[in-house]
Subunit: 305 residues, 2 copies
Amino acid sequence: MTLKQLQYIVTVAEEGNITNAAKKLFIAQPSLTTAIRELEAEYGITVFMRSNKGIKLTSEGEEFLGYARQVLDQTKLIEERYTGKGTGKLKFFVSAQHYSFAVEAFVELLKQSGADKYEFHMRETQTFNIIDDVAHLRSEIGILYLNKFNEEVIRKTLRDNNLSFTPLFTAKPHVFIGKNSPLAKKRSLTLEDLKPYPRLSYEQGSHNSFYFAEEILSTVDCDKELIVLDRATLFNMLIGLNGYTICSGVINEELNGPNIIAKKLNVDDYMEIGYILPGSIHPSPLTSEFIGILERLTGRSKQHH
Amino acid sequence: MTLKQLQYIVTVAEEGNITNAAKKLFIAQPSLTTAIRELEAEYGITVFMRSNKGIKLTSEGEEFLGYARQVLDQTKLIEERYTGKGTGKLKFFVSAQHYSFAVEAFVELLKQSGADKYEFHMRETQTFNIIDDVAHLRSEIGILYLNKFNEEVIRKTLRDNNLSFTPLFTAKPHVFIGKNSPLAKKRSLTLEDLKPYPRLSYEQGSHNSFYFAEEILSTVDCDKELIVLDRATLFNMLIGLNGYTICSGVINEELNGPNIIAKKLNVDDYMEIGYILPGSIHPSPLTSEFIGILERLTGRSKQHH
DNA sequence: TTTTGTCATAGATAATATCTATGGTAAGTG
DNA sequence: CACTTACCATAGATATTATCTATGACAAAA
């Protein structure tokens, strides 16, 4: 098995035709034919049914393609990482839960980098994908929280995937509400206070939907549930529907606007927010810079409480 | 970049020495030297510091190795899948939450296969790893549940990873308790009934610890928490400590023994238990057989309720 | 029947991987 | 201080592999 063979097979499958695939790969058709035959012989499988009308993927071939694509996806990462440099395109990938401070840090990093050609990814996604992205090196860093409930589970998963966790700060749970919500008058809130209002959470399983909210707010406590994908939508609903959402309370006015406010929630819990890195890999300069910004921003945020 | 180069680099890093690595790889030392130099030249990186004393991994090299290992891990899957056949060793991998019916099906599949050389893996693990295993083809099938809370999140994750979900059956939540527990006298239980007793859950984030228990039993409801890794331990504690655990109620006497009993839990929730498969891959004969057994077993279990 | 479009095969050729032999260098050894 | 040993690097020869061109076989369309 060689990478070329895998690439050839995938291209042929995409084109559905050896002749065209050969053109696309800039090789002669017989070369492609033999390359594929050799791979098939090596594993004793038949990936394609050939006829003078063209080729057709077998079910065996379909399965093999699944494996082949997995390998090629990983090689693409190497190519992008080490030849992306060559094109002068600066690349950076973060996977994080929905924290405004993370977005802020991301934006600041981008400004600081001063690059004119770049490709930056801010992946606000669920815990599962954050860990998966960092474990498989699709992101160089991930941001998530631990609390007393998810800690054991998450730490074990991180160990299994050879990832390190570094705490940034500890936050007490806060409730985000609209400025004009009836709850805005109170100084701090209890779960009981929240009961009549709709609870907002991210479908993608951010902090509150994956662990946090489910811990603190049981089904018994919450009759009205709204699940969204987008932070802007979430904020709209906070305001328009007098909803609430439970977060770390790390709020930033410039980013969230003046219509959203945070209130302390009176429950016995905490969130330890930090970042995860692949254990075996030294952080890139850009990643180190990003960590620096995170530390600075969250150090500042801490003073808000 | 070729797979050979990646393999060479990894072997050299393991040996810490080009000469020995060459012996291990059954090639001459200069071949190895040039192979590595060419890869380094291709990406403009220095993986090893050379000296007449030996070699030393650079930090750049350490990073590269992370990527290289990811690729090779994937290729190993292909080798194992398609040359394992050659050794006549039958292989099968399941990732599942802690369900006795899944273990039962696994055991029956093994018996039915009648193979004298085999390698079967029953991975009872957390939701994260189940999805990850199947998505990256480390397992051919996964077993997990959906309920109204995790459904959106899980379905999105499955979509993202091109996995299909097929329901097996729907179960109402049950409580597992020891035969001699004070709760054993009641016909059915409420959350209130459970309050004084220790709640048991799996650390590895099976159904109850990842989604289920956290939904149904909030922190408010549970003062005593025991988290374990092993089903046998969990059952011991159910009996010894009058603990309880919330499950699908799919219990099997032969497997769990006569000391554990299931009671209906009076809450408005359900669990839809099913299996996940990679979208692009046709199930192997063994997988199809396993699905058949699952369907038969869970069809039978359903009649218990 | 002819043309066209498909994949397969054969033999030549170019590219490349690997080999053997040798060189350079530094550390250990009598 | 020579001498040996244990490294990795380089050069040139050789074996292997990849790819090419040319051609064949086959079936569907014109």
